[in-house]
Subunit: 241 residues, 2 copies
Amino acid sequence: VTYCLALRLDEGLLFMSDTRTNAGVDNVSTFRKLHVLRPREDRAFVLQSAGNLATTHEVLDRIDRDLAGEGENLATVSRLFEAALYIGGIGQQVVASHRAALGDAASATFIFGGQIAGERPEIYLLYPEGNYIRASDTVPFLQIGEAKYGKFFLELAVRAHVDLALAGKIALSAMMSTARANLSVGPPYDAAVYLNGSLEMQEVRIEATSPYLTELADVWSEELLQAIHALPPIPDELRVL
Amino acid sequence: VTYCLALRLDEGLLFMSDTRTNAGVDNVSTFRKLHVLRPREDRAFVLQSAGNLATTHEVLDRIDRDLAGEGENLATVSRLFEAALYIGGIGQQVVASHRAALGDAASATFIFGGQIAGERPEIYLLYPEGNYIRASDTVPFLQIGEAKYGKFFLELAVRAHVDLALAGKIALSAMMSTARANLSVGPPYDAAVYLNGSLEMQEVRIEATSPYLTELADVWSEELLQAIHALPPIPDELRVL
């Protein structure tokens, strides 16, 4: 599978993706699923993908080819939602061109986000059908792929009104929890951070061997055990022991 | 859906089930999915169900009818795995009798556990096909239904070598997390606790309006926020902020 998440915080945007791909359990590999796109100085984007890997690669190549051409592309669109629709359209075209051979197996889902100067930074979920939704103000995050294990963490981050630094830790915790539960999600983990108004995307890759990942898992585990012990005792009227 | 879990701890067994059922989102109701069975003094069982509700009810009724008859039943089997196979067989018969009308839509999955005097207490997952697996020593819990959201909590309980009282709190936390994420899982929550060797099953129902549930959710939320703040900062070499 895949696990990609994106958070829209007061300070900026945070994107994180795993890198594991598999065609069956006996063909596991590592591919980037988080791509930074800087088509022009006045805009910075991230595209994250889940679904058919070949479709994702062709979408990226078509985006790149369009940038060298005369027609609509990521440098010419004037609004972020137009960029989202443009990528959604490319996705549809790629899937359509392979439908005879693959049916719906070529489909892919994307998270797309970033900022165009003068607009509010935003994150979008792009459906395989080419349309999109934005993250809402009450639930300012999006996930694609194996989203059930990490949802809990992201909700926590939102409830805590965390800043980008803290959100990074929480996103990593969500990643590690998902990877532990689902073998088809795994490190290295790619992250991109966008500070509102900066028009620059900062990238990082956290390797599986990073001592920080181990430290994070250990501390998290210890803290959770403490949290569990702090839970109030089951009251007498409910007690069964 | 449904969420049922069972833990096998050093001290005994813990079972917990939600009670929400739905035929579509516009037909939601409350039904017991955790059933205590005491067919004879030397044994105490719990049966939890996920899947077709009508199948579950007919399975329970057939178990009850068999107890009044001459053939094999839950009072005559001498080993726990035979009881598991017996219930698995009943499940198959019920599904087969409705297959013409329902196909596989009648299928149900069960958690079955308890103790027969002289045997080790155990929990089993009964497949719709009538066979079973036991919980393992390294992963001494089972889940049926919407199992992804709660897994994290149960793993934590196991890692912490908790006692039954603490396991009860953790199981409730898993329940509430699942219910928050999936509308088709909801309170009241039924629990059964079994102390090894007691041959008695202690039951409790925790109502949606229980102030304890609110208190538990509040404390848990607060503790988790503290845990998040205690996470180590992202080190400089990985830092993107």
